[in-house]
Point group: C2
Chain length 150, copies 2
Amino acid sequence: MTIEREADLGMLIGQLGRALQDELFSRLAEQGHPHVRPRHGTVLSVLPESGARATELARLSGQHKQIVGVIVDELVELGYVRRESDPSDRRAKLVVPTEAGVDEVAKARAILAAIEQRHREELGDETYRTFKTALEHITHSQRGWQSLQR
Amino acid sequence: MTIEREADLGMLIGQLGRALQDELFSRLAEQGHPHVRPRHGTVLSVLPESGARATELARLSGQHKQIVGVIVDELVELGYVRRESDPSDRRAKLVVPTEAGVDEVAKARAILAAIEQRHREELGDETYRTFKTALEHITHSQRGWQSLQR
DNA sequence: TGATGATCGTCAAGAATCTTGACTAACTTC
DNA sequence: GAAGTTAGTCAAGATTCTTGACGATCATCA
């Protein structure tokens, strides 16, 4: 005897997030990238091919610069990025993707695009477009919830 | 000069999940529940008022029974649940919510409902309904992605 | 009834991730 | 050149999940 309750927005989002992550990293592993972990993606996915500073990556990925430093260390270890000194600022170092890094990002994007395409075919173009647009609006709005306080 | 990329499904879901969690736990803290942490919610939200066994909670919440054991320890410490021995099975213990536990669940549900209502008003009833239905389908479908493998 | 296997809850170790505070070196502004 | 800001790092610890194992109890069936 089980009491299953109606799923609320929080549960749905959490479950979907975990399921997406499972498929993404499982397929990346099959496609030659078995060592990338989720947090590597948060940095790689915002890293321009021309490179960026660690502080810029922290801002773009929404994480603390301390974590970004560690993640970049691991990405260097994995061979996905290089650290180059920034000629315009001796404090700074440019993080630049290697060929393997560019390949990883391309494959990750392709996998996510394929996942989206699958859902688009299940739901129909129009419904999927409505869904995605609504999700963008809700995400943007929810990220500003603190301005609604008091 | 910033290179912002188009947000994919993974980034949107991740960002929305974090933002929802931030508002939920911030408001719960304001409403008399300052000590609950996200993982407590995964168990409390599936706990029937009549109680359930730890193994059942593990299944319902989708987590390992080891974690559920620890979470229940913390919930007992916080005064949200009691452990009662199960008369029908001497191995098992029933986890039963206290009055405080029932109150926490009610407040969490109300907060999430209010958040959903806010987004419903921004998007319009019909669009929101389409969004929620599509999210349910996609979540269900994505959770079964492994059956698509080879 | 007695043996066998499954289930219930727990102990323990450790991996992965994020948070917070502080600090040095280098840069910018006035 | 003095003062404040910014880039990157060191360090400690909080939070959450994973994996493997175990004793106690229960259920099944020969």
